[in-house]
Each structure stands twice: as structure tokens, then as C-alpha cells.
Symmetry: C2
Subunit: 132 residues, 2 copies
């Protein structure tokens, strides 16, 4: 699915099986190099909503170091469970945020993942096995 | 830049300014649903090389929960500095790994980022400011 400005297309949905498993949203954004400030303002407003929802764990917003990257911004957000993730994306408040006209400037390509391998240099690395 | 199987295209390079700043590689892979085992084996071999390089911090390999995701696997890998990241990608050993014929089955789309916003639910959230 290509990056889109359609509100439905820019809402990642997770499958309904195993609702208690953690999920990670990876959402990539097309942002012109001279529109950083506008993107920051809009994205921050949306992130404040998600940070306040039950099950929010953490997020990292990444900015590309190469200006010609397809996606200059990528948000990686962890949620405690699929249930919490889906609930946060099913409210009227979320709908109002995602349908804001300002988002039409910044096509997004969201997808929902699970972490299958985790390795930390300063930790026990026996976790180098698929977690599924 | 679309996903590619060309060894040069699938090597993410970071700019040379500020070589002491941390970087994050986000590398997205096209993997057919029935080729998980082959991808795991190949990716794990490559990751063992990176894990042993100076400056490697951590990685998380993500698998999509929706089978129709453009990129069924996404690796997010943190490095201490751009210098370390670039050095790890400039060796003959890396070149031998990335040019393996088996990779032609799995187009990749790598790009290098910096973390600009980090929020953790259970930590001080005053870090909600661009880090640039």
C-alpha cells in the first residue's frame, strides 16, 4: 500500500487474534524538507492523544539524515497489547485528529508489527531467536 | 528510492557531518509470506556480523501482523555514532554478506535516521522536544 493522505488508509489496524500481545506501530511520513515545523506541530498534537491512552508504552520519532529519503520521518510506537492499540484508534477523538485537513500535506504509510528478534549489546543476547 | 536488490542500493549510508552523533538504521524488507524461514536464516547471519562491530547498540526485528504489508519485516538498529555505523558498512566482510545471491529474493529499503523525539510512558516525558 503506497503512502496515502486518505484518513482510512492512514489508520493502521491490527488483526484481532491474540489481543493481549504487544504490538509496534511503524508509521512512515512523506514530509518536504522545508515543512519540518508544520509536521512537528501536527504530529506532536496527535502524539499527545496517544500518549494519554491506556497501553501506550513508548515512541521514537526518527528524522532521516539523508534529505532524499522516501520517508523523512518514521514513528516507531510500542503498545502493551493489540487491544489497547485498537481501542486508541477507534475513538471519535482519534477520528477528529486523523481527519484534520493539515494531514493532507503529509502522506503516511502505517503498518502494525510484532517484535520477533531483540538484541542489546549490553545485555544477554540469547534472545536472538524468533519470538513467535 | 524503491526497495531494491542491488547491493549498492541496499547499503544505507549516513552523511559525514557530526560523526559522533548516534544514528538509527531503519531497513524494510519485502519478504513473501511463505519465505519467513529463509529470510530469518539470511538476516540472522548478517546481524551476527553487525552485533560484533564497535558501536552496535541494539536492534529490533519487526514482523508485520498484516500479511499484505508492503514490508513484512523492518529492522530498527541503533548505533553509538555515525562513524561506527559507516565503518561497519565499509568492510570487505560486509560487502561479502550484502552481495550474497540469496538476498536477491528479498528487496530492501534502508535509510539512516536520528531520533528526534523520545517518549516513554513510565519516564519523565519532558523529552517531548525535537532533539536537533
Amino acid at each position: 500500500m503506497p503512502a496515502t493522505t486518505d484518513p482510512d488508509g492512514r489508520t493502521a489496524t491490527a488483526p484481532q487474534d491474540d489481543p493481549d500481545a504487544p504490538v509496534t506501530l511503524i508509521n512512515s511520513f512523506v514530509v518536504p524538507a522545508d515543512r519540518d515545523d508544520a509536521f512537528y506541530a501536527l504530529w506532536t498534537q496527535a502524539s499527545l492523544y496517544f500518549r494519554a491512552r491506556p497501553g501506550f508504552v513508548s515512541l521514537r520519532l526518527h528524522r532521516a539524515l539523508t534529505p532524499d529519503a522516501d520517508y523523512r520521518y518514521v514513528n516507531v510506537a510500542n503498545w502493551s497489547t493489540r487491544h489497547d492499540f485498537n481501542a486508541a484508534h477507534a475513538t471519535d477523538e482519534f477520528r477528529a485528529i486523523v481527519t484534520a485537513d493539515e494531514w493532507k500535506e503529509f502522506p503516511a504509510s502505517p503498518a502494525v508489527y510484532q517484535v520477533v528478534i531483540a538484541v542489546d549489546a549490553d545485555a544477554d543476547t540469547d534472545a536472538m531467536q524468533p519470538a513467535s
